[in-house]
Each structure stands twice: as C-alpha cells, then as structure tokens.
Subunit: 209 residues, 2 copies
C-alpha cells in the first residue's frame, strides 16, 4: 500500500519508519521538503519527502501526523477526497505551558473538525493515545495493551485495523462513529500528566474487562 505520512515530528517519523518496515511504500509530506531534508533529525534518512499536496496524490491512505494546532492548515493543502485519512493528532495547546490544554474538546474533536473540512475524506481516529515509539512497536511494552479505532466508515476502519494488526496491535477496540474521537482526544490530559509523573512516554493502558 502507498501511504502518505503528513508531518515530520516524532509521530510522523516513527510512523513513516514503521510503515516502511512492514513493507509499505511510504512518502512523507512536509511544508518545505528541502528545509526538512536539512534538519538534523532527518540526516541519514532515505524516506522520500514531498510537499503536503504532492505526498498524498497517489496515496492509498493518508496519515495526519501534524501537530494538532496546525493540522487544519496543513491538510487544507491536501486533496483527501475519497481517501482514508488516519488521524493520529491531538489538539494539544502548549501556548500557556505544560500541561497543555485542549483547543477543542467535549462537544467536538479535532478529528471531526478535519472531517467537516474534508467531507469526502474517510477520517479514522487511531493511535493518538500513545507516543510514536509505541504506535509502531506495541511489543516494546512489557504486556499487551489496547488501541482504539473510531470512524464513521466501516471500510476505512477496517483498513486502519489491518494496518494496526501489521504493526503488532492485538487488542483493538473499535468505535463505529468518529464522534468517539472526543473520548480518545480527552484521554490526553491524563496521558500528559502520567508522562510527567512516570518520567517516560513509554506506557499505555490495557483495557481489562
């Protein structure tokens, strides 16, 4: 599958490397490919870079791994019509420091904002509840943990679920509505405090039922 990962932060780099490792054809979308290629964290990488718009052109699946505060702007440059958009972003607003606030919550979510901005896209929220390293390597944690999938389109959810299985996820809880992204994004205020409390981002929840 050809996957366009939009965003070159920790999550984007982890996902691009992870998807390639499991055999996908990956291109990374960034605002300025030449500038990104010069950056220290990109040294030694042979992942192909393209502009936001070009990256998605031939992609079967597009991943939004941009920072939540710039996601709508970045995706405005991408034609997502008919495409599955895996949204891993979070609406974290660090403008007043740590812990961040959420710029949208409770009665709306970033995933739904993206869906409204791209009504022909098939938006699926997943992987936003863990950090980049855990996203692509759930076995790095000492026990199996749980990951969530939320989206309105069953075929798109299934495409994302198949990717998650390839990445090693076993316990996948699926919500049949993108609205559930509100709950997934509102896990972050606890997640960031746990990260500070535990001194690591290497953790996740296991749903025991």
């Amino acid at each position: 599958m050809r996957i366009a990962v939009i965003g070159t932060g920790n999550a984007g780099r982890a996902l691009a490397g992870g998807f390639r490792r499991i055999g996908h054809d990956v291109v990374v979308g960034t605002r300025d490919p030449d500038a990104t290629a010069q950056r220290e964290e990109w040294a030694g990488s042979d992942l192909p870079l393209a502009s936001f718009g070009d990256a998605a052109t031939d992609a079967d699946l597009v991943v939004n791994a941009t920072g939540g505060q710039v996601s709508l702007d970045a995706l405005a440059e991408v034609n997502l019509d008919g495409k599955v958009l895996l949204d891993v972003s979070n609406p974290l607003d660090f403008s007043e420091g740590f812990p961040p606030r959420l710029s949208v919550a409770d009665t709306d979510s970033l995933a739904e904002q993206i869906q409204r901005a791209h009504p022909e896209a098939r938006v699926v929220k997943a992987l936003n509840t863990v950090n980049g390293a855990v996203m692509v390597d759930p076995a790095r944690l000492p026990e199996p943990t749980t990951i969530f999938v939320a989206g309105d389109d069953p075929v798109a959810r299934e495409a994302v679920r198949a990717l998650l299985v390839e990445l090693g996820w076993v316990d996948i809880v699926e919500f049949p509505a993108l609205e559930a992204a509100r709950g997934l994004e509102m896990w972050l205020p606890l997640w960031v405090r746990l990260m500070a409390n535990l001194g690591t981002a290497d953790f996740n929840l296991r749903l025991v039922r």
Copy 2:
C-alpha cells in the same frame, strides 16, 4: 475510622457497603433521610442515614459520592474544615442525553471547584475512574488494574491510599497535586463510550509501563 459517605446513588451505596465490610464505621449523608429510607434500593439496608450536615460532624473522612451536577450544592451543607474529602464524583451533564458532556473540564475540574468552595478541606480525587462495584472490589476484574489518587495534601493522599489498599487496590498511581483531577475527570468521556461499546461498566484500565 468513621466515614461519612455523602450521596445515595450507585457509588454512594457501593462505597458505604464496601467501607463497612472492611471494618469502618459508616454513616450515609442524604438530603432527606426519611425519604431515602423509603426508597426501594434502601430496603433491607441497615446503614445509618443522616442529613448532609449531620453525617459529617464526627467523621474522620468524608466521601463526596453525589452526582457531579449537585455536588457543590450538597457539600455547601457540610462543614468540611480540616477534614479529608475523598471526591469520587464526575461532572457529567446528561441534560442533552448520552453521551454526557462535562460541565467543567480542561482548565478546571469539579474537584478543584470543591476545594475552592471549602478552602479548609483537604480534597483528594480518587475512584472516579471506575464504577461503584469496581471501586470497592477491584478483584472482580480478571486482572489487577490501576487506580489514581490526586491531591495537594500528602497526609490526606496517604489516608486515601490506605483506604484503597484496604479495598484491595494494588496498583495506585499518585499525583501530588489536585490539578491532576482534570485528567482523571476527562477520562470519563472515553469511559462512558467504552461502557456503551462493551455493554458493561465492569472494566478498568491497567497502566502498562
């Protein structure tokens, strides 16, 4: 220890029974003790009922198990000065149906609102992340799970932690600031959607790190 449980809903009844089972002297605070005694779910119970104010008078520890939308009103009738207040409530607003919204979130929490209304109380948030049955019997789940404690006062946190251990909790994650109640309360939007999705309230998260 003498414990006053304020509130007669599912959480209040479960906690009152659970605290008595482990040997504490329990009184349940309700707006109208006579009316509560007549209610079907109170039939056969010999837990002593008292008014909100009377219940707390001689208590070593007070539990707020009232519904989040009425907690501030109910606690206004209780003198909490110097007392440990274990707040298990959640600011769930069902006025527009299910899933509920949060009436306070992100930059404030119900626990902090209670603390501001009772500056001499020692408020500790805990147990709000699970339902009543799990609160008092964590072993009913098939694996050990995680419970959280958040509060500014270390002695009050320790008192609550000791109670949790008596109830059977093993994995207790402590936040040294009541501010973390924001994260604990914001877990609820995911919790309620999981309850609907799983068809049971008998679940909890296990923090894997």
